[in-house]
Chain length 156, copies 2
């Protein structure tokens, strides 16, 4: 079903024609566990990019913040999300907005993957990691501390 | 599960918390049948927008072209798509790129809806409709004529 010049790209088992399966980040660059990345749309004539990230069961994305905004739609599975001081159970087709400079992290359930689409501006800043002080501040809220320990709602 | 200030919006039955179900276009503005529109993400701090369109069984979007690019992911159901002179059967999670000034139309199968995400630039031009000459040119290709008559691959 694939040819290099087609405007149609077929989906099969959470892979797409002509889309490479990439590491989420370079190992050691930041803490994360079991995350892959696929860039579905990135073109000079589009101001936005659409990526697909998949967190394996029990895995998690990096806890980080940045100036650019994330627009997320869960495509597959379930888990839990932290955005700012808000922790929520997340599941298929739920929407998540990560506003500028807002700490965020996503965790797959222990028995299910968490796959999500993420729209961002093509031109964007690099993420910042939390300092020990930032972490203390985040952990001051019990629900957030529980989430960071992998034990929030949607963990099971 | 909904509150106005949350960054999480819950999905249920192809509707989302706080997202209005809109008409695809004003009646009479252009030919189309049985299409709804929901804007999932549109924010001043995002260069792109993400919308969800749903074509009911047997329905179709407008045949049109424009300078801006569409980045499409099928979220639900199946049908057929026309992009340029290419006609293809389309199904869940397939990707479709509509490059600038390329005629395109999407049709749901007769017995299934066709729901898709569409990323566009927030700033974009208005669509153009085909002239009778454009239609003749499109119909010169038998596969395209068949599609335009609602009888292409993926119609059943």
């Amino acid at each position: 079903m694939s040819d290099g010049n087609s405007n149609f790209r077929t989906f099969r088992d959470y892979r797409w024609d002509g889309v490479s399966l990439l590491k989420y980040k370079d190992e050691g660059a930041a803490p994360f566990k079991e995350v892959t990345r696929q860039t579905l749309f990135s073109r000079p004539d589009l101001a936005g990019e659409l990526r697909y990230f998949e967190v394996a069961p029990g895995g998690y994305s990096t806890l980080e913040r940045h100036q650019h905004t994330h627009a997320i739609l869960i495509l597959r599975g379930r888990g839990q999300g932290l955005v700012g001081a808000e922790v929520r159970r997340i599941g298929e087709h739920d929407l998540i907005t990560v506003p500028p400079m807002t700490w965020h992290q996503f965790r797959a359930a222990r028995d299910a993957p968490l796959g999500f689409l993420c729209m961002v501006d093509a031109t964007r800043d690099r993420p910042q990691l939390p300092t020990p002080e930032d972490l203390n501040e985040l952990r001051a809220k019990p629900a957030v501390a529980k989430f960071l320990d992998g034990d929030g709602p949607g963990a099971a």
